[in-house]
């Protein structure tokens, strides 16, 4: 029932926001997101770490087709629900400093999207999962398209087209799987679409080999994995900062989560067949994203490509099919979410003050804004995976997982740490240090509300870095369950 509340509350809040026009919507929107956070926190405290599905709810949604509104959380779902619940208030707060038209609609869309995201992370029915997958897409299309930069129409169109085509393939795959299942428990329909029924299917290997791509297509685009990534840098750059944070902080985790929950255990033989190819693509993405990031002049684009590189490592970890790899992906999803949202926020803070995102135009911010510098440095070191920060735990486990699968691949993927340090420290040096430029002369330090936004993120950077077990033991059971499903056949 708690899961249903988590799903319904943001929608209800989004509808109620209609009564608050313009700036008056700010506080209610933030309040709603904080209530949602409290609910998620309550779920986390009452969660029993034995890791079977909890807070489950099952309602016959379309009786004639055996489709259920079935939701529930295991440790992995809970981690991502927590991530969403933490980041959405932060993202809403980050929008407070901006002045744009129809603010109430903007906040309503963010809250609406939250429902879609939590729905994706908790769905226990294939069609509910698909449904929520698209519910999350529609608001972000408008968030990026309406409030974005100059090229927004073209860029968001490309984004929408890519993701929806990917999703349609996934839907086709689900429909195929659906017709392989047996009758629903209530006997009202000939088939059913429960997650458990999909796990129980025993499809021939040659079917799984092609089915893999149908299902993977949607996840590949969303994450995105090389070569399905071409929408990503453009969209991240053109979208307004809060939308970019949603995209990079939470939405790309939908793809990784989808792989873990809906791909590996459902078509294990297909995964086995394509494992090497996906790992190679992921590693190409790691290196390629990092190398392009080094050459970027635009702060936002640089973070976008760095994100591409980091996602590559998470994909590699998932497809290494090792416990360490999957655990690494689970914790790195959190760490990356926290870091990338913080980084985009700081990039946005700099852009709002100077009017430019061009690295060459900036410099000397350290003296003007020491607090901002410290925050930026902490997040940056988290992204670079310095020990004791959140990035380290995840990257270590991921690399260990990939190494366990194939030492060479692990070695090549490890280059990401070096390249990451290169482009991030280089950016730090050119933006924060050195002489002032004409753009940065009047630069001011972080305001109280901006700091209030960054502090929780920084706390998380150290929390995950110092006490990773708080989170790792949540996901451990789920990861083992997933791997069991994979190995079983």
């Amino acid at each position: 029932m708690l899961t249903v509340l988590l799903l319904l509350w943001p929608v209800a809040a989004a509808l109620l926001l209609h009564f608050f026009k313009g700036r008056a919507a700010r506080v209610p929107a933030l309040g709603a997101a904080l209530v949602e956070f409290a609910l998620a926190a309550y779920a986390a405290f009452t969660f029993n770490t034995n890791n079977t599905g909890q807070f489950s709810f099952d309602l016959n949604w379309i009786p004639s087709a055996g489709i259920h509104f079935a939701v529930g959380m295991d440790g992995l779902s809970l981690l991502l629900v927590l991530l969403t619940a933490v980041l959405v208030p932060v993202i809403l707060l980050s929008a407070f400093r901006r002045n744009f038209e129809n603010e109430s609609v903007f906040y309503a869309l963010v809250l609406f999207m939250q429902t879609g995201l939590i729905g994706v992370f908790t769905a226990q029915d294939a069609f509910l999962f698909y449904f929520m997958w698209e519910v999350a897409l529609i608001p972000i299309y408008f968030l990026a398209g309406v409030w974005g930069g100059v090229n927004r129409a073209r860029v968001t169109f490309k984004f929408f087209l890519y993701t929806i085509i990917g999703s349609l393939f996934m839907l086709a795959g689900f429909v195929y799987l659906y017709f392989q299942t047996g009758p629903a428990a209530d006997g009202l329909s000939a088939h059913n679409s429960a997650l458990a029924s999909f796990y129980a299917l025993n499809l021939p290997a040659e079917t799984q080999v092609w089915l893999f791509w149908l299902i993977f297509a949607a996840f590949a685009v969303k994450m995105p994995i090389f070569p399905f990534h071409t929408w990503q840098p453009d969209t991240y750059t053109e979208a307004p900062a809060p939308a970019t944070m949603l995209l990079s902080g939470i939405m790309l985790k939908m793809g990784i989560y989808g792989c873990m929950r809906w791909l590996l255990p459902v078509v294990p033989m297909g995964v086995d067949y394509w494992q090497n190819l996906i790992l190679i693509l992921a590693i190409i993405g790691i290196i390629y994203g990092a190398i392009i990031a080094i050459r970027q002049q635009d702060v936002k684009r640089l973070i976008a490509y760095s994100s591409l590189s980091h996602v590559g490592l998470m994909i590699a970890g998932v497809f290494s099919l090792t416990q360490m790899g999957l655990q690494g992906a689970a914790i790195q999803m959190l760490a990356h979410g926290v870091n990338v949202v913080g980084m985009f926020f700081i990039a946005d803070a700099i852009e709002r003050r100077t009017g430019t995102r061009n690295i060459a135009d900036l410099g000397g911010l350290t003296r003007k804004a020491p607090v901002l510098t410290v925050c930026f440095l902490v997040l940056l070191l988290g992204t670079v995976a310095l020990p004791l920060t959140n990035g380290f735990v995840g990257e270590f486990l991921l690399l260990a997982g990939v190494y366990q699968f194939n030492a060479w691949m692990g070695a090549v993927a490890g280059v990401t740490i070096i390249l990451g340090a290169v482009y991030l420290l280089r950016m730090f040096q050119r933006v924060m240090l050195g002489p002032d430029s004409s753009f940065t002369e009047t630069f001011t330090d972080l305001t109280g509300s901006e700091l209030a936004l960054l502090v929780p993120l920084i706390v998380l950077v150290f929390w995950i870095g110092l006490f990773p077990n708080t989170f790792l033991h949540l996901s451990e059971g789920s990861v083992l369950n997933i791997l069991n499903e994979v190995v079983k056949r």
Binding site: N60, A153, I164, A172
Partner: protein
């Protein structure tokens, strides 16, 4: 049956109201009539099959459900004719009565049991449409549309009638169940009559294909829709299509279900379906006028509905009928909203191209929202009825093994996303210019209708169980 009687009587009564020359009275009366008939229609729900006119018409759940859709469509469409009311259109009472009479034809189409009734239904529906297509007398395009629709329509009606005659010649009956019986239990000498039966059947398919604008008999659609006043074009693309497909399904299921006839009609329908999907979707991409885009979109939706016909599994009330029912409802609701917004914008801005919608989200958030919901529904995006419409139709087809056809349809619906997003981009992501800076006037009736349509679309998309599986 109640609905046929009521519509005929009240339609005649409505004509007399025209003498008062008080257009302001007409719109509420029209809505009252439609609301009344819609309510009365459901009295027959779950009453079992009731034959009328010596069994030439049968009212059962199938016909009640489809009658409900056409009446509901007409009811939510009527408010968009308000400009006629305000402009003091002299013949408004006649137009409204023609709409009511054409609904009688639509109801006959969904409840016929005898080919004569099919023919009568089509004619009652079509003749009214020929007139209404040309109702904008002083507009050359409207005249062209009416003439084109009439000539083509008369031609295809002739083909349909010829087909019926050949079927009659081969089987000796006009009654659907008797045709089916004659095909399945061939009398001596029937073998030599078979070619006649098949040719008759194919000719009937051609006639029906024209009415529902399935390719390759779709050529009239874009031109006629473009010329026809938007209000009546919306009626054409929803009511006529819904009734046409229900009639088509009845024809297939009740007259030609036998395996030996399937060898002929299955490849024919499959080819029609593929061609319709291709022409509808690819054609829509190239359009610059929204009305023409909607015309091609209506062709493409005929293609999706044809999939349900191809996949029918032998019973009238099964997955296919449910698929067509749900799809028609979702499609009609979304299409009425789309045409409604296009009409309001075109009336105010005198433009029917995409750029005419620029910045509509700023000037008229309600119109923009409503058109967005309807475009997403037509594109089949979840949270809208259109998604489950496609879902049910596609699952019916997958279940019966037509996977290749479904894959093709999925690819085509990817194409469709391109043109359905274009109005959304214009409305939300482009700025207004001098021509489009002013808000489009919307009356309370119209705003209410648009909100109702959007709510229905979302309701169908969130709780499809309300309608799915009704038959």
């Amino acid at each position: 049956m109640n609905s046929i009687i009521l519509l005929s009587v009240l339609g005649l009564g409505n004509l007399f109201l025209g003498f008062r020359r008080s257009n302001r009275l007409l719109l509420p009366v029209m809505m009252l009539i439609l609301g009344l008939v819609l309510t009365v229609n459901f009295i027959d729900w779950n009453e079992g099959a009731q034959p009328f006119f010596n069994g030439m018409l049968t009212i059962d759940n199938f016909s009640v459900a489809f009658t409900g859709i056409v009446l509901l469509t007409a009811l939510v469409l009527v408010p968009f004719s308000q400009k006629y009311v305000l402009d003091g259109e002299a013949n408004l009472a006649e137009y409204y009565s023609l709409l009511l009479f054409s609904l009688v034809g639509a109801i006959m189409l969904v409840s016929y049991n005898h080919l004569l009734m099919l023919f009568l239904g089509i004619e009652i529906l079509s003749v009214a449409m020929y007139v209404l297509a040309g109702s904008d007398k002083r507009n050359l395009r409207s005249n062209e549309a009416a003439l084109k629709y009439f000539l083509m329509g008369a031609f295809f009606t002739g083909i349909l009638l010829f087909g019926m005659a050949l079927v009659y010649g081969a089987t000796g009956t006009f009654v659907l169940s008797e045709i089916s019986f004659a095909v399945q239990n061939p009398a001596p000498g029937f073998e030599s009559l078979k070619p006649m039966l098949y040719i008759g059947m194919l000719l009937m398919f051609i006639g029906m294909g024209f009415k529902v604008s399935a390719a390759p008999f779709h050529f009239w659609t874009p031109d006629v829709y473009e010329g026809t006043p938007t209000f009546f074009a919306a009626f054409m693309s929803t009511v006529v299509k819904t009734a046409g497909f229900a009639a088509f399904l009845k024809l297939l299921v009740q007259a030609f279900p036998a395996a030996n006839a399937q060898g002929i009609w299955l490849p024919t329908l499959t080819a029609m379906c593929v061609l319709t999907l291709l022409i509808g979707n690819v054609g829509a991409v190239a359009q610059t006028s929204i009305k023409r885009m909607l015309a091609y979109s209506s062709i493409s939706h005929a293609g999706y509905l044809l999939i349900a016909l191809v996949a029918y599994n032998g019973q009238l009330e099964g997955a296919s009928a449910n698929g067509i029912l749900f799809y028609s409802l979702a499609y009609s609701v979304a299409t009425v909203a789309a045409f409604g917004v296009v009409k309001l914008v075109a009336d105010a801005r005198q433009r029917e191209d995409y750029d005419g919608l620029n910045g509509l989200a700023k000037t008229n958030p309600l119109l923009a929202f409503s058109l967005t919901v309807s475009m997403l529904s037509l594109a089949g995006i979840p949270l809208t009825g259109g998604f489950f419409g496609k879902f049910f139709v596609f699952s019916a087809a997958v279940e019966n093994g037509y996977i290749g056809l479904v894959v093709f349809a999925v690819v085509m619906s990817m194409v469709s996303i391109y043109y359905y997003l274009r109005p959304i981009i214009s409305m939300y992501m482009r700025d207004t210019d001098a021509e489009t800076a002013e808000a489009v006037p919307v009356t309370t009736f119209q705003a209410g209708a648009l909100l109702l349509l959007a709510a229905l679309t979302v309701l169908l998309g969130v709780l499809p169980g309300l309608v799915a599986g009704a038959l």
